[in-house]
Symmetry: C2
Subunit: 397 residues, 2 copies
């Protein structure tokens, strides 16, 4: 693909990662640094480099030329490091404080050096720990509104938008989503991964022509609609949190796609977490979904009124129509994400750690029902306040 | 934009155009050639170079770095010559015999040398002359089905599709359509051009919130939906015809856009011609529209069944849904085209030559009504056979 110098690429190890950080002037050269490879993703090395005396640290992320999850046999372009660092820079400009700061990038080595966020916790883990995260929903709503509105045709001049679409063309990473979110889980494909007890429910899904037709339409949106620069992988494992801070990380899947995809993935992962909770603990999740969407809607609308370059923005009903369309897509994409995280290749810990096993299976069957119903009923769910009742109804057996 | 060597560019004149054709080996160098600049477009020089003895000829088309219609003050990228020649080559491969053959291209001089089609007539002129064109509709239906299906995600591998989208990024020419088809005619903008007698109808259009909301949605599709490689300017002035041949020319507006745009422009220009006819002469037009769409539908469906790479293509109802969506878009885009050709910057001779003047004004007011009704009712028009009745109803006052 777009990498010219793959021959100069080599994966770093802890000592060379530290040495690079010193060479970049991020640490003084007489320090004894700690360096630990902490990557738990599938596609990258992640080095956490710290000066134990000052406590100062940086993260050095290096893309691997293959996907670890399947082994070296599945090559992946290193160009995603360029995509990731460019997306982080763009998002920092549009949603300041909500993404890690980028200190340095090297396209040949596929490296991004960025702000150390080790004082924060991954949102998925925090939600599994039942932590209160009072600002998560509002922060993500703001992140979505600002990054999506300001990279859309509503805010960008046509030439600028089209140049960015080219810059963020990301076929390798899009292919992962096209296959593992929108295709494989809806057919009896080898890449799927689920417990034998789920086979009956999975087969029911594969025979459900209505669901598959709707997923076909949603996949087509993902393939063709270049509405805005998406994060592209906005699950709760891509968000660092504390009670006061939220940082969205890992935008290596960034590309111009349908706006509803990002909020859809975020909401889906909250719903997956809700499935792992007892009913009395679920309210925080539904409140978070409502808060995130309402914040998105308020801030998207404010940006539209303040900064839209589109002459038709003044037409009565156009903003409302646009938000309705985005919400409809959001619900549909959320349904796809819920299903693929249940029977597809990549699971979520929220479901996979449910104990006892019988309850885990039950929750996963509920997840499949919920996903199908979100996909089929996305036109009938008009606002996030309806989701709690819809969820309860979908999982009642 | 993408042109590195604009300093080496110079517009040809008749003598240098002939000399180039000889240098390219298209004619022997001892011949006395005729060369005539026959461009009547707004953006290009077109040289017709012939050997009067053998009758052999070629067309040499050179992009100008500005739009003639507004004068040199409106610069336009020469990159459109690359777009045009690449599109012609791609279309020739997909729809053999339905586009002129390309003999040579030079990106620095923004030149395409191609097959001489001077034995054919421009379809708009032929239709205005009330010629029988027994194969036009079928040929265009085939052209549309093959060029659009085989450049869509249904037929292309994801990487190939995304590479082509980048290759055919065409911001300058898209901007012309975004402004002059989808924006200016729907507001009281200076670029609009119409007779004073149309002002009342134009003002009614500009106050019609329903129409404007629907046009906003159609414009958004044009801006964001990269479904297939469009011709991008498929009016009847972009088609050469005889009773036996059809050649689609001038794809300099080519880019990846919504599939319905091409059939929409074609159908709109047939409807504009119908408006210039007496009722008893209109049947040929409605039959042509029906034939073109039915051919498109049959050939698109055949290609889908034979060559779709999309796993969801097998899902019951997906082909039908896709065709319905394309038809709905087609009708909407046709409505926009009918309106912009009536009160926008670029008119059509079909309407502008209607005599007497009072009948011309009447037809143009009918065109505005027709355009609005197509845009507003595109969900209710389900097949092209309904268009004749719809047309009659829309223009009845």
């Amino acid at each position: 693909m777009a990498i010219a110098n793959t021959s100069l690429y080599e994966p770093l190890i802890e000592s060379t990662a530290s040495a690079l950080a010193v060479r970049l002037g991020l640490f003084e050269d007489n320090l004894v640094l700690n360096c630990e490879e902490i990557g738990d993703g599938n596609l990258n090395l992640v080095f956490h480099i710290t000066d134990p005396k000052s406590g100062k640290g940086v993260i050095l992320k290096q893309a691997l030329p293959y996907a670890k999850v399947i082994g070296e046999s599945w090559p992946l372009t290193l160009d995603r490091a360029r995509i990731e660092s460019s997306a982080l820079v763009k998002q920092a400009e549009l949603a300041p404080g909500l993404v890690p700061e980028v200190y340095y990038t090297d396209q040949t080595l596929a490296i991004t050096v960025m702000e150390d966020l080790s004082h924060l916790q991954i949102a998925r883990k925090a939600l599994m720990d039942r932590k209160k995260l009072p600002l998560l929903a509002e922060h993500i709503g703001t992140f979505l509104a600002r990054t999506l509105f300001y990279t859309s045709d509503f805010a960008l001049k046509p030439h600028v938008k089209k140049r960015l679409v080219k810059q963020f063309t990301n076929p390798d990473l899009c292919k992962i989503t096209e296959d593992f979110v929108f295709t494989d889980p809806f057919f009896d494909f080898e890449s799927n991964d689920f417990e034998p007890e789920l086979r009956e429910a999975a087969e029911k899904l594969w025979e459900d022509t209505h669901v598959k037709l709707e997923v076909a339409k949603l996949k087509r949106k993902f393939l063709t609609e270049a509405e805005a620069l998406l994060h592209g992988d906005l699950h709760t494992g891509s968000i660092f949190v504390s009670e006061t801070e939220t940082k969205v990380i890992d935008p290596e899947f960034a590309f111009f796609g349908p706006i509803g995809f990002d909020p859809g993935q975020f909401i889906a992962n909250l719903l997956l977490n809700a499935l792992s909770r007892e009913e009395q603990d679920q309210d925080f999740i539904f409140e978070a979904i409502e808060k995130a969407w309402n914040t998105f809607e308020v801030e998207f609308s404010a940006a539209w009124k303040k900064d839209s370059l589109e002459r038709f923005s003044e037409v009565e009903g156009y903003l409302e129509h646009t938000l309705e369309q985005i919400f409809e897509d959001t619900i549909g994409f959320a349904g796809c994400e819920v299903i693929r995280r249940t029977i597809g290749l990549a699971h979520v810990a929220d479901l996979d750690t449910i104990e006892p096993y019988s309850r885990r299976i039950e929750s996963k069957i509920q997840a499949l029902e919920l996903g199908k119903k979100l996909i089929k009923n996305r036109l009938n769910i008009n606002e996030p306040g309806q989701l709690k009742r819809f969820f309860r109804h979908a999982i009642a057996r």
